[in-house]
Amino acid sequence: MIVELGHYALIMALATALLQSVLPLIGARRMDQSLMDFAPAASLACFSLTLFSFFALTVAYVTSDFSVVNVWENSHTLKPMIYKISGVWGNHEGSMLLWILILTFFSALVAVFGGNLPSTLKSNVLAVQAWIVSTFLLFVLLTSNPFARLNPAPIEGRDLNPILQDIGLAIHPPLLYLGYVGFSICFSFAVAALIDGRIDAAWARWVRPWTLAAWTTLTAGIAMGSYWAYYELGWGGWWFWDPVENASFMPWLAGTALLHSALVMEKREALKIWTVLLAIMTFSLSLLGTFLVRSGVLTSVHAFATDPTRGVFILGILVLFIGGAFALFAMRAQTLSHGGIFAPISREGALVLNNLFLTTATATVLVGTLYPLVLEAITGEKISVGPPFFNLTFGPLMIPLLLAVPFGPLLAWKRGDLWAVCQRLYAAAGISLLVALAVIYFSTGAPVLAALGVALGVWLMAGSVTDLLTRAGVGRAKLSVLWPRLKGLPRSAFGTATAHFGVGVMVIGIVAVTAFSTEAVTTLRPGEQTTAGPFALRFEELRPNNGPNYTETQGRLTVLRDGEAISQITPSKRIYTARRMPTTEAGIMTTGASQLYVALGDETADGGTVVRVWWKPWVTFIWIGAVIMSLGGIVSLSDRRLRIGAPSPKRAKTPVPAGETQ
């Protein structure tokens, strides 16, 4: 019964969304307040209905109602409760329902927190958002209904793909979707502004918190996905340049660019047309990602079931929204007035440079991701574009960008003094060089490039600290006033510094694991030893073990340092009973920021076991860096300026904080 109610609620949500797509637009044109007031009410109704529908599917999963096809295909009575719940979105239909839930969640947020928006803009934004909601609801109801019944109901389900039976499934997709789908709000704002033909600094001030929120969760979501793949697949890699990873990375890159260009628009009313274009592009890349992942044109763990009609449908949505938005942009962009001018050496100039590099990098990733598909469609030739391509194209673009990061926040708006900024960064540069020398000195035979890479990370970290100290007035003000001045800085300054610091931490992790990790594949019999980094590993035994819905062969290895046992690692090979599917569970020991990573292979004829051992120094810096970046986003979001919303354009010219005056 609840299942039918859930299905019905979804149909009601579609009806509401269709009305919401039309009525507020008419209201905004005619200045009819009652029609415009329909938009927030409809948004909340649509969200509640989708939430109920999602709840109904969750109930079906929790109670193992195998009369629902979707539950039968992806669940099992013996599956632990957390995977029963997270399994709701561990399949195509359920994940699309989550997509829509988050889409309506964001439009409900605009309805609730958009009190200070001009009512025509708010109506237009919510109407555009409702177009997206309607098309995706149609998609789910017509091609991917999660509530389809099965008669007679089977006694037992087919279980969830074992790779997905992990805490990662509970965290990664919701976070990723919050970011991915969150950019829809920026898109709706951009399209609404184009419909209005009017755009100003206040617009950028409304858009920025949404961009920031989406970016923050997307950063965390991608990092979580990376760590999950790292420990679950047993391949020891943290990023594979897999098309599916690129699908989430491209909106992130474009979203990062948007975050920075919206700043220029908010503060200086420049780059208006570009910011609108970027907002459209970012969500277009999210839609493209959804198409790539869900349509089955790519083969990956994310492409659950491939059904050609779904691919065509999403392609239709893609063409409709991207084509429509760009057509509208082409028609209206000229009507947007141009903003203030600035010198190439200035804060604006630095942010333009940031945008230039980030969008170019996005384009190279896009080429690498789509080229195989296009080539196959045209010539029938099958190719794969792997890490070497991206290392050669994306890498060189990132290095100048990262080198420039510390300069940006120190430059003044309008016209900056590069020489003065260089002087402030002497200390940061000195520290980075010292670190580079130390790396070469202490790790014998370290490649010079690795030392320079670590130095780049330190440069970013020291640069962001320099930024905060300079703003507080170090070197110009008395020591006693430094602390109060530092505390008085706007939260957004801390957010910027924190996020840039996080990038530095991540760079160090990436460089360290690329240059210093060691890998060995050996065959060990019980009692035999192998070495990895500063440790020795003694293989003790293989023993059988039973889990709730799997049986496993667990290897037990003792980690020795200088002959003393310090820890145990227990990698295993599991067989999930329902699907008869084997998986590898890596054994990981974390010491400091480094990890010892062990994966089991097959048993050999002579009683040994193939063991693959990685020593990965500082590897956790990669994800810690990403978490710090997200934290920076959260700190920025808590800035008073964003909390109290956008003031009138006149008040937008706030006094320039200390450190920016020059």
């Binding site: 793909n161 790779i163 047993g234 083969t299 990956s300 763990v301 001018i341 600035f342 010198a343 190439p344 100039g349 333009v352 440079l353 230039l356 590099f357 170019t360 990098a361 384009a363 190279t364 080429v367 690498g368 080229y371 195989p372 030739e381 099958k382 190719i383 794969s384 574009v385 792997g386 070497p388 391509f389 050669l392 194209t393 060189p396 673009l397 594949v521 050996t522 065959t523 090979k573 699907r579 008869r580 599917m581 084997p582 998986t583 590898t584 994966a599 089991l600 292979g601 097959d602 050999t604 004829a605 040994g608 193939v610 693959r612």
Partner: protein
Amino acid sequence: MTRKQKRLAIIGGGVSVIAAAVLLVLFALQEQIVYFHSPSDVVEKQVGSGTRIRLGGLVEDGSVVRGQGSEVAFAVTDTANTVSVRYEGILPDLFREGQGVVVEGAFPQAGAPFVADTVLAKHDETYMPREVADSLKDKGVWQGE
């Protein structure tokens, strides 16, 4: 600087970055891409030794031989032609005889077995690498849906 000069500086900088990126992409697309071949392609097209390719097909029944340590030898077939493959390392969980597989590597010299450094199998038991499915369909031996 005048307004015009400022604009020129910004546009000039932008164009040079984009030009550099385009050159990098073109270079990388020539050098760094890997073609997919079926065993029949390998026989027909005479893939040169040392050229990295992806080879896909079915693991031939009864062909898997485990050697010393983590060495494995097996044969990849599309039923018309067969190529022997050597690999050292841990095979993916779902690597099985009679199942689809994609290996990446090169022929060290003409006539020698293919040496793979990467073996990709599938993520779940109902999935077949798309390239493999397509090439099996071409050969008329596809048994899936």
